[in-house]
Amino acid sequence: MYNFSYQKVSSIADAVDAIQKAEDGKFVAGGQTMLPTMKHRLASPSDVIDLGGIDELKGISVDGDTVTIGAMTTHAEVAASSDVQGAIPALANLAGNIGDPAVRNRGTLGGSIANNDPAADYPAAVIGLGATVKTNKREISGDEFFTGMFETALEDDEVITAVLFPKADASAYMKFENPASRYAIVGVFVASSGGAVKVGVTGATACAHRGMRLEEALNGNFTADAVDGVEIPIEKMNSDIHASAEYRAHLVKVMTKRAVEACS
């Protein structure tokens, strides 16, 4: 790791102030991706601003049909939350399968979506549930938040404060794990609400996205069989030593079918 200057802040205002003053500052949430990246000297921020001391970024609340999860809430807290388990069990399940227990104790929702790793799990849920990302400046819809590989709609001094997840009538997340890293080779989040189906896909392409063709097939026929006829364009799929584009495209359908089956 290159050296840097560490600051722990206790308010959003202080965090914004610190990053504006830093030459090349970075927020750190749980640090479970950022620290390994820095250890390999692939990132070299001048300042690391730790959001871990900002109490208002933590916590889970349910209000009507919306589950609000603070950005600095850990995966372990989401997985163990009876509120989340009751309102959106698929979301609790998803959180409970990110990384491993020790990683889940540090890693956070906000950190995960701000980093936007193409193989991260949370983006699939944000898109699949049609969640809203709330920052210190504005609210961003899930569809508009993820803009590209490791890229989001966030500005440099913008801090995610919470994510608002609407409840669904039924939802499920199916992940096909990379056997080495345990990230998603393909992860599909399917949610059905009032007859409308949304599908969030992660791992398959450069950036998590809505499975529009899948949604089209599933709207009005919410069965696994409906997925069979969907054509998944192979050109856009990631291809690496773990999975070819063709295999990923195939897995998108298999995982979608299994998610649909799990919804019933």
């Binding site: 390999h40 096909f176 056997p179 080495a180 298999v254």
Partner: protein, 523 residues
């Protein structure tokens, strides 16, 4: 040996400061010696009963960029000399071409040469069974070296000293409920899964090695092992071994040997290893040799102590040496209740106030042991898998291993070695694969890309034994550390091939590769 070790030793003198170097995991992937890396073509000629007449093998072995210490031997002597396996194939011809590439040096890795030979042979045997329309267990039986043929001279140098391959196979088939497999496969099919079962009947040559044998291969040193067993005046014992323990539990197993032989309570025995300033010269630990060679050296040193102890006890008890008997830690005058225990003898040996001329003080003996032959552990491993044809994911649902390791000193430790070896082999079969791109960049240089077996990749195992007695080994032991890594890869791949009804799938059988094979199999 590695560059870093030599450089650190040299640099600490050059800068006259202590120097420490520790590899990080990425460096380990880049510069630790890698293992295996063969491309091979194998053929078996059979008669109309499926009896093996001759085998032909052509292998290219990648040695990496430089020759590591042991690089040349792994794909030659440790590989070709194992190609007979458990079978009485009378004629074997092999050709090994070893090549340099711009990749990390390749050297010994758990099993070293023997897993490569076993994978090739046990896969080929399954192909033979399929071609002959025989059950994989049946074709093995027809070709096993019969129990009354030992010692058995193979056409590839090795002379197997003992074995009962049918006994291990029978026991393994029962343990695996081979008979009930068809029913289980049917049930799995109803759930959309393909179930398969695979056998692997391996033999390995370990207990490395008889100096005479390696001498004939051109070795400049012998491969004996050494031991020193030292009593302190207060009666506790320090055992110095030339082997080295790095997980095998020598500090316990060797203490068990000494407590058995000398009757000293195990808590009073300390095993010391791994320091050139403390122990006598020894060859170390590899090739499942520590007990089969090093353990015998300890036993021999203990025998010398008993002989010496008889002299001392005879003097102290005022009896003739020939009248002293040793049992359960006591030296006694035969037929009397006059006795002294070994701790008293030790004390006496260091307080030789009235020793006669010729009786040497001290109670401390060393011994060297050079085996007459390798040892030949063998066994049958049976793996049962369920393949999800939609994703290609392979689940090992049951794994049974029956091994012949001769006598077990500590069954708990032996079983642990088997478990670890199996998972090493399962890792090779399903998960692990080192990949370089065409520019020579290692693209599997961390645990993010190189898949290590984890707890949720494997089940618990059913392990049993079918021991035979190796006549040349004084302790009756064979060695167990590499068996699983040798036996498992073909068992797993045979099971997958069986599940999908295909001829072959290369390792690692990753989900994508299995999925592709499943597509081909059903199309």
């Amino acid at each position: 040996m590695y560059s870093e070790e030599l450089v650190v030793g040299w640099a600490c003198r050059k800068v006259n400061r202590p120097v420490k170097w520790t590899s990080d995991r990425t460096e380990a992937f880049l510069a630790d010696a890698h293992g295996r890396d063969h491309v091979a073509h194998a053929e078996m000629a059979m008669d109309k009963n499926g009896k093996f007449l001759a085998m032909r093998v052509n292998t290219t072995a990648n040695l990496g960029a430089y020759l590591s210490t042991f690089a040349t031997m792994v794909p030659s002597y440790l590989y070709a000399f194992l190609l007979a396996g458990q079978y009485s194939t009378p004629l074997i011809y092999s050709e090994v071409k070893a090549v340099f590439t711009n990749t990390a040096p390749v050297d010994a890795a758990r099993g070293a040469g023997r897993p490569e030979a076993t994978f090739l042979l046990e896969r080929l045997v399954d192909v033979c069974a399929e071609d002959m329309g025989l059950d994989p267990a049946e074709i093995r039986r027809r070709n096993f070296i019969p129990v009354d043929a030992f010692p058995y001279q193979t056409p590839v140098v090795q002379c197997y000293d003992s074995g009962d391959y049918n006994a291990a196979l029978d026991k393994a088939l029962a343990l695996a409920d081979y008979e009930g497999f068809a029913g289980r496969a049917e049930e799995a099919k109803s759930r959309g899964k393909c179930r398969g079962i695979g056998l692997s009947s391996y033999v390995e040559a370990c207990g490395i090695a008889p100096s005479a044998a390696v001498g004939q291969l051109g070795a400049g040193v012998g491969l004996w092992e050494s031991a020193q067993v030292r009593f302190n005046p207060t009666g506790n014992v320090q055992v110095f071994t030339g082997t080295h323990s790095h997980g095998q539990g020598h500090e316990t197993t060797f203490a068990q040997l000494v407590t058995e032989q000398l009757g000293v309570p195990i808590e009073n025995i300390e095993v010391i290893h791994g320091d050139t300033s403390k122990t006598q010269f020894g060859m170390g630990t590899y090739g499942s040799r520590s007990l089969a060679v090093g353990g015998v050296a300890i036993a021999k040193a203990c025998e010398k102590l008993i002989e010496k102890g008889k002299k001392i006890a005879a003097h102290a008890l005022e009896a003739a040496e020939g009248d002293i008997e040793f049992a359960d830690g006591n030296f006694a005058i035969a037929g009397t209740d006059k006795a002294m225990n070994i701790a008293e003898v030790a004390f006496n040996a260091y307080v030789p106030h009235s020793y006669p001329e010729g009786l040497e003080p001290g109670f401390d003996e060393n011994a060297f042991f050079d085996p007459m032959n390798f040892s030949f552990p063998a066994g049958t491993h049976i793996c049962e898998v369920e393949v999800d044809p939609d994703t290609g994911v392979v689940e090992i649902v049951k794994y049974s291993a029956v091994d012949d390791f001769g006598k077990l000193i500590n069954p708990m430790i032996v079983e642990g070695q088997v478990h670890g070896g199996i998972v090493h082999g399962v890792g090779q079969a399903l998960l692990e694969g080192c990949q370089y791109d065409s520019d020579g960049q290692l693209i599997t240089a961390s645990y993010m890309d190189y898949a290590m077996p984890r707890a949720d990749n494997v089940p618990s195992f059913d392990v049993d034994y079918a021991p035979t007695n190796p006549p040349h080994n004084p302790l009756g032991v064979k060695g167990c550390g590499e068996a699983g890594a040798i036996g498992a890869p073909p068992a797993v791949i045979n099971a997958i091939s069986n599940a999908l009804g295909i001829k072959h799938i290369d390792m690692p059988a990753t989900p994508e590769n299995v999925w592709r094979a499943a597509q081909t199999a059903t199309s």
